[in-house]
């Protein structure tokens, strides 16, 4: 009952040209929540996540994290705490490890502990991968492996809210189950919540604590 209130969004709206995707959208996220977004393709699930990460300007409404508006956090910090994982993850050249290390160079993340090998390999193990994964060439990863890279890259910053856009779309069944278990464990380890989308309605039933339907 005394779960920490993380994110509150009120009266959000998104319009593409003349087309209204969603409006009057309210969302309250408390620690432990796993919200599944439910809507047909093209209904603006990705755009909602981008809006929550403030990657796009808000067209209407307000949004706050732990009661504070984005401007008081600063946008880079906001995004490191409300962290969006794109549907098609992007890695730069070099190894997986180089990709996991490079964001630590950002001004915002520099002073926050840095790269921790044991933590990453622990997660890798939970996902059924051994540490040699870190030495792989990131530009030659499969779609599923890229999704794992993106997830690890995000988890290491301990965001308050993870926004997962089809996080398991390219993964096999076993890895999907392992990823869900890892996420549940990670969420329970702190005051954290996640919002996710999936084309697999069974996954939504299985993994979501609650669903949110998008409508105009």
């Amino acid at each position: 009952m005394d779960r920490l209130l993380l994110l509150r969004a009120e009266g959000l709206k998104r319009q593409l040209g003349d087309r209204l995707l969603w409006s009057q959208l309210n969302l309250v996220l408390a620690a432990g929540d796993r919200i599944g977004l439910v809507a047909p393709s093209g209904a603006g699930k990705t755009l909602l996540m981008r809006a929550l990460a403030l990657l796009d300007p808000l067209q209407a409404g307000t949004i706050s994290l732990q009661g504070r508006p984005p401007a008081s956090w600063g946008l880079p910090r906001w995004r490191s705490m409300v962290l969006y994982l794109a549907q098609r993850p992007i890695a730069h050249g070099g190894t997986v490890e180089a990709n996991l290390r490079s964001p630590w160079e950002f001004q915002e993340l520099r002073g926050r502990g840095g790269w921790r090998y044991e933590r990453i390999t622990g997660w890798l193990q939970a996902l059924g991968r051994d540490p040699s994964f870190l030495a792989y060439d990131a530009e030659r990863l499969s779609g599923g492996e890229l999704q794992l890279l993106a997830l690890l890259r995000a988890l290491q910053f301990d965001p308050s809210v993870l926004l997962l856009d089809e996080p398991t779309a390219s993964l096999d069944g076993a890895t999907t189950a392992a990823l869900e278990a890892l996420l549940i464990e990670w969420l329970a380890a702190g005051q954290r919540a996640c919002v996710f989308t999936s084309h697999d309605s069974e996954q939504i039933q299985r993994f979501a604590t609650r669903t949110l339907e998008l409508r105009p």
Binding site: A53, L54, L55, D56, P57, P70, L75, P76, R77, R79, S80, L83, Y84, L85, A86, R88, P89, I90, H92, P103, F106, Q107, E108, L109, R153, A154, F157
Partner: protein
């Protein structure tokens, strides 16, 4: 021999017309490879001829003037045309792109040409149009290329690297951290022609101004000295102009909220 007053052989009208046939090489190539440049090539050729013939008359008049504001005004008009032309070669636009280009061209060329006429070449008076106008013209012509290349590369770069830029932003990068590679790449590409031309200067290419002076009977050593000053002017003005225009475009296509604003791109 032609009269000594001119210094160089005069090209007759007929031979001038004959030289225009050389453009047929380009037209043929464009047609054969379907480059879609035929129209632009012909328009550019006609414009070049008409503009130069007209400018011959204008320069004769201008060089007789001795009125600083008028000459500066002519220079400003040249810079405006350069600023506008620089944008016309880019594939995409955004609101304010012309203003950005004008500001960058004018500030960089005014600064560099101003320093050259007051400090390096020192004609008396400083606004002597016989010096100021050709110097400015050479600087503008090159800055214009740099600005076109830099702007175009920056806009295309942001588009093609969009996912990478936004991935960095989503992880908590500032807009500068996310975009700096694209900015650097655009400035680097825009500077390549200037650096290339300095590299082979005198070995492969004899620059236009120097050729002109030598044809007019100037001592090669004197012509070379002018050319060196000019090339340094061009290099610094191009760098300043490109830096300015890419910097302004960066500010326009990102927001203070560290967002990528490609929705502001048109085309």
């Amino acid at each position: 021999m032609t009269p000594v007053t001119s210094g160089a052989l005069t090209i007759s009208d007929g031979r001038l017309a004959l030289s225009a046939l050389l453009i047929l090489v380009n037209v043929g190539l464009s047609a054969a490879l379907r480059l879609g440049l035929t129209r632009s090539l012909l328009v550019a050729s006609v414009r070049m001829v008409v503009q130069l013939l007209l400018v011959g008359f204008v320069l004769e008049w201008l060089f007789r003037q001795d009125h600083a504001p008028l000459i500066v005004l002519v220079g400003a008009a040249m810079a405006m045309i350069a600023g506008v032309s620089a944008v016309q070669r880019t594939r995409r636009r955004f609101a304010g792109i012309y203003l950005n280009s004008l500001l960058s061209v004018m500030a960089s060329s005014a600064l560099v040409t101003g320093l050259a006429v007051t400090g390096l070449i020192q004609p008396q008076p400083w606004y002597d149009p016989q010096y100021l106008i050709p110097l400015l013209g050479m600087v503008l012509g090159n800055t214009l290329n740099g600005i076109s290349l830099g702007l175009d590369r920056f806009m295309e770069g942001l588009r093609s690297w969009r996912d990478r830029v936004e991935t960095a932003l989503a992880l908590g990068a500032t807009r500068w951290e996310a975009c700096q590679e694209v900015v650097r790449d655009a400035i680097r590409v825009a500077m390549i022609p200037t650096i290339n031309s300095m590299m082979v200067m005198g070995l492969v290419s004899l620059p236009g101004m120097m050729t002109g002076q030598i044809l007019q009977g100037a001592a090669p050593d004197a012509a070379v000295r002018y050319q060196i000053v000019i090339l340094f002017m061009i290099a610094s003005a191009t760098a300043l102009g490109v830096f300015g225009v890419v910097g302004l475009a960066y500010r326009r296509l990102t927001s203070a909220d560290h967002q990528l604003r490609l929705d502001r791109l048109i085309g």
